[in-house]
């Protein structure tokens, strides 16, 4: 595939064709929205006195 052909590939297809960007997104998204958010909420619970 020539460089010119590669330039014509849509952005979304480039994303879907790159397993390592997908790997990053697939680990970062649930880490942020589930793990980190959840952990922050639990550690911010005040301790009983």
């Amino acid at each position: 595939m020539s460089e010119q052909d590669e330039d014509q590939i849509p952005m979304m297809q480039k994303l879907l064709d790159n397993p390592f960007i997908l790997l990053f997104l697939g680990v970062a998204t649930p880490s942020l929205l589930y793990l980190i958010w959840g952990i922050m909420e639990i550690v911010s619970i005040p301790l009983a006195k």
Partner: protein, 565 residues
């Protein structure tokens, strides 16, 4: 590349890299062995929950429940998925496998972990169940075994990603990877998140069990553990859907209705499927409603939408291919004339219907914070995941195995008559298990309890409606049917590997193993008017109506639980 390292399948033309082939065989065999072990424990669990039989004592029941859950939810599924990852990378892309020695090391770690876990659980003091909630403590070997298994599986994922790099660098394919491989990429990505989450919680829990740490916060444990425990089932879903697409292509020569739409649906899985873990925390007091509702009722619906897309495009692609093959009359000639005696197809289709109607719809009910409360921690939950993981994933993997035996293991199937019935036995039995457990759960029967009459609990008395006992008995009968179906599968597969007719390297199987795709022009004018797949649209409408009716029935149950006025 030395051609001696490859074998070309005479039936399909697929290129098998010999190291990958040996690894796929090892992982697939290990998977079936652990399915057999887990199934035997499952029989014990099912017969104990049947009030009239009540087979096991309490301590035996919790041991069996622990061993059943871990053997089938983790060991069977993940061993098979590693085989699927190697198939979807090395075989489908026609390239060598990256680092076979690392792959074998991963397999060894997984096997040691799985054997160690069974040993520890059988000792009787690790009956902490699949969830192993802290502060309920198991011996250190229990946590170590799970960590070893997870690290081994992570090795398998790295080998898979390495193989993708090799295929790209060696230009063994052009353009994008096949859709089935893309589904496997989705499964591998979810697996990496799952395994890392498992390490985050299981390593400190191991340290706690050996006395290096004084305390594990139970709420923190539940939050992080479910990123491992629930996401491990999401690996199954992604792999199972990759298998659906593969079988549609193998049996019918079907092509995806829209590659773009299917890939976008997999992307939604990559981004949002793991967030469904939060529905296990819907009654936990330590996390906010914002956290719960975003992760379940908002983000999870994007993953649900992705499942519905796959549920539409897989049968849609089959319908289009069947119509192109000439079965173009009426709404359902394509379905009537499908090869229902071929277990690869029937298993896959029952998996699709069961996963959608029983597993999918009930999953959404459990993911809605308000109506989740009706069934939270009841038998409804195992009912739901027997519809997804067993009726959906396990049956899809069984269906694929029938195809893999001659293609990968070069053996003819034995007992083909029984094999053609097996998906129906297992599918019917497991549908009953799912439905009757969900029915009992709706009546309030708790999960993880060996005796719904609460005998021996020091005076706790609770009378469930009489229907609950009937449903538990029907569940027991369904377990028996499912076990007959599962045992038939194990006998057919193990028997075929040991006694099936050996196929020479260039000898074709006695039956056709792959269907050529219809010519492009055969797709012209199929369907009814502008609608190319009218039968699938009718099925989709039935699904949506069932979904809406069942969803609102649960809101009515909720309204009756807390009456107004």
């Amino acid at each position: 590349m030395d051609n001696q390292q490859f074998r070309v399948c005479p039936d399909t033309g697929l290129k098998f890299f010999r190291s990958a082939e040996a690894l796929m065989k090892a992982n697939a065999v290990a998977a079936v062995v652990f399915l057999l072990v887990g199934g035997i424990y499952g029989l014990g669990v099912g017969l104990t929950r049947w009030p009239a039989v009540h087979l096991l004592q309490a301590d035996q029941f919790y041991l069996a429940l622990t061993a059943h859950g871990i053997n089938v939810l983790l060991f069977w599924c993940i061993f098979f998925e590693i085989a699927v990852l190697y198939f979807c990378s090395s075989v489908l892309l026609g390239c060598r496998l990256a680092a076979p020695k690392v792959a074998w090391a991963g397999f060894a770690l997984m096997l040691i972990g799985a054997l160690m876990n069974n040993y520890v659980v059988l000792q009787g003091n690790a009956s902490v169940m699949f969830t192993s909630y802290a502060p309920m403590e198991a011996p250190p070997l229990f946590y170590l075994s799970l960590i070893l298994f997870a690290v081994g599986a992570l090795f398998g994922c790295f080998v898979f990603f390495g193989t993708l790099v090799i295929a790209k660098n060696e230009k063994t394919y052009e353009g994008s990877v096949p859709l089935v491989t893309f589904g496997a990429i989705t499964a591998a990505i979810i697996a990496v998140f799952t395994i890392v989450s498992g390490a985050i919680i299981l390593i400190p829990t191991l340290a706690w069990s050996v006395g290096l740490i004084s305390h594990i916060d139970s709420l923190m444990y539940r939050l992080v553990w479910w990123a491992f425990g629930h996401s491990s089932q999401q690996i199954n879903i992604a792999a199972q859907i990759a298998v659906w697409y593969a079988i549609a292509s193998i049996v019918f020569g079907a092509k995806p209705m829209s590659e773009k739409v299917s890939r976008m649906a997999f992307l939604l899985y990559i981004l949002f499927l793991q967030l469904a873990s939060a529905h296990h925390l819907l009654v936990d007091p330590g996390v906010s409603s914002e956290f719960k509702m975003f992760n379940t009722s908002y983000a999870m619906y994007l993953a649900v939408m992705a499942s519905m897309i796959h549920g539409l495009t897989v049968p849609g692609s089959i319908e289009a291919a069947q119509r192109a093959h000439g079965f173009n009359s009426g709404f359902f000639e394509w379905l009537r004339k499908a090869p229902w005696g071929n277990p690869t197809f029937s298993g896959m289709f029952i998996s699709l219907i069961g996963f959608g109607f029983l597993g999918g719809i009930t999953g959404v009910v459990m993911g809605a914070e308000q109506i989740n409360i009706i069934v939270h921690n009841t038998l409804y939950v195992p009912g739901h995941f027997h519809a997804t993981v067993v009726l959906g994933t396990t049956l899809a993997f069984m269906a694929f195995t029938y195809w893999l035996v001659p293609i990968l293991f070069r053996r003819e199937l034995i007992m083909k008559g029984l094999a053609s019935w097996q998906p129906y036995l297992f599918g019917l039995g497991m549908s009953g298990v799912a439905l009757f457990m969900m029915g009992a759960g709706t009546l309030g029967v708790p999960r993880r309890h060996y005796d719904i009459s609460f005998s021996g609990t020091g005076g706790i008395v609770h009378e469930f409606p009489a229907a609950a006992n009937t449903l538990m008995a029907l569940n027991g009968l369904s377990v028996l049917l499912a076990v007959i179906g599962g045992a038939s599968f194990c006998i057919i597969i193990v028997g075929s590997l040991l006694f099936g007719k050996k196929l020479g390297e260039n000898e074709k199987c006695s039956v056709s193993m792959i269907t050529a795709p219809p010519a492009e022009e055969a797709y012209e004018g199929i369907g009814k008017g502008p609608i190319t797949v009218p039968g699938t649209l009718v099925l989709a409408m039935i699904f949506f109506v069932s979904f809406a009716v069942y969803y609102f029935i649960n809101w009515k149950y909720l309204a009756e639980t807390w009456g107004i006025g």
